[in-house]
């Protein structure tokens, strides 16, 4: 029963999720609207709590077992708790019951967002440019005909998307655009179709109970 019940639920709700995309019948559309606006939203809220609980559990375990880089888990737990308390009781702009200002020092959610999250997020992404430059220098070698073609296409696109490309030749931006519109689309479409078939097959396997890894491995039936 422990395994059969979830399988029945997945089958029933999997089918109920597909039908509204095929049939415009008012009863089916009404049921779908109920499922989405009432049931799924409640489940999503519970999933959020479950996710946060799981995150805390993983990191407390990491600290207990002194696993690699366990010190960083303290950073996560402390910032998680501090921002949660400030967010829940201090309000977005310091308008809650918890004081979020000591003298001229403010620490409401809005201030934390602008002065911690935004700079940290921007810094992380900015570092990417340096790693990409270093990786491109090391990996981009014209070792074969295919690699040479890739390298040439990369140079054309890199120059074509810049104002400089237009100064070199007015045809360069158009050629770069053609590379993106034609060979790129052909390759992307092939990947997309392959991924779509893969997703369809996986979804069918889960709905029909052939794929059961999501049930987890522990416990007997």
């Amino acid at each position: 029963m422990k395994r059969t019940f979830p399988l029945i639920l997945v089958f029933v709700f999997g089918i109920l999720g597909i039908i509204p995309f095929i049939s415009p019948h008012p009863t089916i559309q009404g049921n779908d609207e109920f499922l989405r606006n009432n049931l799924l939203r409640i489940i999503a809220a519970f999933a959020l709590v479950l996710g946060l609980g799981s995150l805390l559990k993983v990191h407390t375990d990491k600290i207990k077992r002194k696993m690699q880089n366990w010190q960083y888990s303290w950073v996560l737990i402390i910032t998680f708790l501090v921002t949660s308390i400030i967010g829940l009781f201090g309000g977005i702009e310091g308008d809650g019951i918890l004081p979020t200002r000591i003298g001229s020092f403010q620490f409401d959610i809005w201030t934390i967002y602008w002065h911690t999250e935004v700079p940290l997020g921007s810094t992380m992404f900015a570092l990417l440019a340096f790693f990409m430059a270093s990786a491109a220098y090391r990996a981009f070698r014209a070792r074969s005909t295919e690699a040479t073609l890739l390298l040439t296409a990369a140079f054309i696109v890199m120059l074509g998307v810049l104002p400089l490309g237009n100064s070199i030749s007015p045809h360069l931006p158009s050629f770069a655009q053609w590379i993106m519109d034609v060979p790129n689309v052909a390759a992307q479409r092939g990947i997309l179709i392959g991924v779509a078939f893969g997703m369809l097959a996986t979804a069918l396997k889960i709905i029909l109970g052939i794929e059961r890894n999501w049930l987890g491995g522990g416990g007997a039936e």
Partner: protein, 287 residues
């Protein structure tokens, strides 16, 4: 032999330093560059421009701090375009992170417009000209739910007002009253809008994406599922160019300013790749 070796083994710190120099200096000594507007951006501009008076533009502002430098100029340019043309705008987010950036963009742009407005009709007024819907859980439910009733999904707006009390929301009920949705994002949301809102409700969709992810969105443009597409800093600069040229809005163009950095960074990258390949070919020949 030593020189050949050093050509293909340049210390990564030298690469980092060179890149930092060419990125930082043009940002300090700003000089906006003009760009040639390419068809994907031009299409998006006209798709927004042609939204009828009785329909609204939904701007899915999915810009997080990580992609802010690249995508924020797109959001700013699209909002300025819509406000200048007096197109009604609904702004919403599918995730929490972009909420602050969207509010910042709205505050800044409404201030720009209202500081030069002479009359109430000229001004950009909340609830009449635009509504900031904010965020509700979860993306798929929002996309499908808004097709039936927007006020049912967003019962209150970002500021806590009941949406069904706002004058604009009395006219904009669901996707039937929406001329176009523009999703500006560093992830997959533009595709989701096509999969769920366009396939099921026929919503027209446009997109603004980062340069890194740009290649995977072109198939949607070719099929016409996207009404237009902005890719990366260059796409943002092209849209800024259109807004300045067609609407006469002369204001700081952040994406166009950043193009100098981008140009020099690309040239440095190309130079290093060429140097690496010269070393590689000499070594191969010697072997």
């Amino acid at each position: 032999m030593k020189i050949v070796d050093s050509l293909s083994r340049i210390d990564r710190r030298i690469i980092y330093l060179m890149l930092a120099i060419v990125v930082i200096f043009p940002l300090i000594f700003r000089s906006p560059l003009s760009v040639r507007v390419m068809p994907p951006v031009e299409k998006l501009y006209y798709a927004i421009d042609e939204i009828p008076d009785d329909k609204a533009l939904i701007l899915n502002y999915e810009i997080d701090p990580q992609s802010q430098p690249e995508l924020d100029p797109m959001g700013f340019a699209v909002i300025r375009h819509a406000f200048q043309r007096r197109i009604k705008v609904l702004i919403m987010c599918l995730y929490v992170q972009p909420l602050g950036l969207a509010q910042n963009a709205l505050t800044q742009i409404t201030n720009e417009f209202n500081s030069v407005a002479q009359t109430n009709a000229d001004s950009i007024i909340y609830g009449r000209d635009y509504v900031y819907l904010g965020w509700v859980v979860s993306p798929l439910l929002v996309m499908l739910g808004m097709g039936e009733s927007i006020t049912n999904v967003y019962k209150v707006d970002y500021y806590g007002n009941k949406t069904d009390t706002l004058p604009l929301m009395a006219k904009i009920k669901n996707y039937n009253n929406v001329g176009l949705l523009v999703s500006i994002s560093s992830g997959d949301p533009p595709k989701w809008w096509v999969e769920y809102a366009q396939n099921r409700f026929g919503l027209r969709v446009g997109a603004g994406v980062t340069a890194v992810s740009g290649a995977e969105f072109y198939p949607y443009l070719q099929t016409g599922q996207f009404s237009g597409l902005m890719v990366g800093m260059k796409g943002a600069a092209e849209y800024e160019e259109m807004v300045e040229e067609k609407l006469g809005i002369k204001i700081r163009r952040r994406a166009s300013e950043a193009l100098s950095s981008l140009t020099y960074a690309h040239l440095v990258l190309i130079a290093f790749i060429i140097i690496g390949n010269i070393g590689f070919f000499i070594k191969r020949r010697q072997k």
